[in-house]
Amino acid sequence: MAAVPGDISVTPPSGAMAARLAHRRSRIVREKAIELVLFLAAMVSVFTTAGIVYVLVKESVAFFQHVPLLDFLTDTQWTPLFDDAHFGIVVLLSGTLTSSLVALAIAIPLGTFIAIYLSEFAPFSVREVAKPFLELLGGVPTIIYGYFALLFITPILQWFYPELPGFNLLSAGIVMGIMIVPYVASISEDAMRAVPMSLREGSYAMGATRYQTAIKVVVPAAFSGIASAYILGISRAVGETMILAVAAGMQPNLTLNPLEPAATITAYIVQVALGDLPHGSVGYQTIFAAGLTLMLFTLACNVAGHMLRKAFRETY
């Protein structure tokens, strides 16, 4: 470029030089404007989080003016829409906890086995087919899984255990677990594949078998990644909605028995949203209080995952 910025004040530019400077100035302005637009787009995600916190906290504060926090945490009944209203979140939490435990009991072993198999044992061709397949499995809408739990898994379970009610946490939890398997498997597998080859080679050189290498070298080395896969699985299970709304029934029920029907936090929100509660009523506010509980729970999971990753991070 002919125009040197330092010269501008010394000789007033004229003619072609002035035009070039003007062009350059407009170019700089345009560049800055574009950068600002892109920055604002990036801030949308921050505004989204702020919006979530604002909405949940605002409506929950209004809710807790009607219902003392102590009652919310200690009451053992959840009957927000009755005349004799009780707001014991423990009831909904028990449903969420039970179904999540069933789901994790399925998803963690299956997901871990699949991940170790795909990363350490499977031939290339199997992996090439299995990875996309798992992705497809993870892409099936949850309402479909709900239908499947209610009309396929529940009848099969009833065949083994005839007293099982049509709505129950067990079949919803099992299907939820299978839904989570792809997430757990693919994240754990990524973590295991990130373990440097030299570690495996060292292990093989010492005479270890594949199994010994996988269990004693690769899994410990990839543990931080595997742990975050589990954490992600937990937060998926806790936040899952439609499978439970369809297959677990929407009756609030304080139980840890997966053979019973029960409502979860998420199923309750759906149930209320299906009816038409007036905006601003206590019933309307309960779903935000329930949502806030859910949000805090997943936040705790994320923080725990972050700390686990930090504590177990291996550096090579």
């Binding site: 299956l110 699949i114 198999y117 099936v140 949850t142 309402i143 199994y211 909605t241």
Partner: protein, 308 residues
Amino acid sequence: MSYARDLTAIRALIASHKRWDHVFALCGLAALMVGVLTFTALFADMAIDGIPRLNWEFLTNFPSRRPAQAGILSAWVGTCLVMLVTAFFAVPLGVATGIYLEEYAPKNWVTDIIEINITNLAGVPSIVYGLLALGLFVYQFGFGQSILSAGLTLALLILPVVIVATRESIRAIPQGIREGAYALGGTQWQVCRDHIIPYSSAGILTGVIIGMARAIGETAPVITIGALTFIAFLPPAPVGAEAPFISFDWVMSPFTVMPIQMFNWTSRPEAAFLQNAAAAGFILVLMTLAMNGLAIYLRYRIRRNIKW
């Protein structure tokens, strides 16, 4: 003599260790098979129950109290329109965010906050987005229980997917391309517009398709904003016969979508409605499978064909 005995002992030890290899590989394969079997059962279940119900009337009828006459016209039209709004917001926002974070963002605390935020948003349960939309879009902004509210909600929901896909495909572009363009006097935006965006577009498309497939199947957030389950009319047509020919009345119209229609039928006791649910579910599964399959295929093609 003792040497030979040691050798057989060692061989037995090795054999028993190797046996564990096989046992474990079989376990892994079995776990994988559980996934395959479930998927097959799910697909077959939908197909067997649903296919007999699939015909032209099913696609062109409104929902009805009589299961044999009920159809999914309002549901699939609603899904298409909501997806239009979702893509309209999610794609530009997601791509712009991806470009900003990869090409423009300085290394400071603001950038850190944006990055942490996106990671966290990806883990927020979808129903919480529904609550956000109910409090903010439906009541605070006054959009009501409209296609616009639903489209915006789903756009925010899939934003992290689009952002992550954009960033990954931008990161795969070698630094030399940027340096070459800058050396020729290109400004930052010119480099992005003429090089970064075109070269990453296939990867971005993959992410957009995966995100849209997820949005099509999302039920909970759309129910939460109060989408109705029984809609026996279509939103106003976007193209009219009179001037100004294009109208945007449809974005404020009440609506229903495919998964909600399916949920509604699933929660009824009559077997005939369950059959309708299976038919709607079959179409929904086919749609999401086709979209995800397309995305996987595209990604495979990109990996094979691009050699920098």
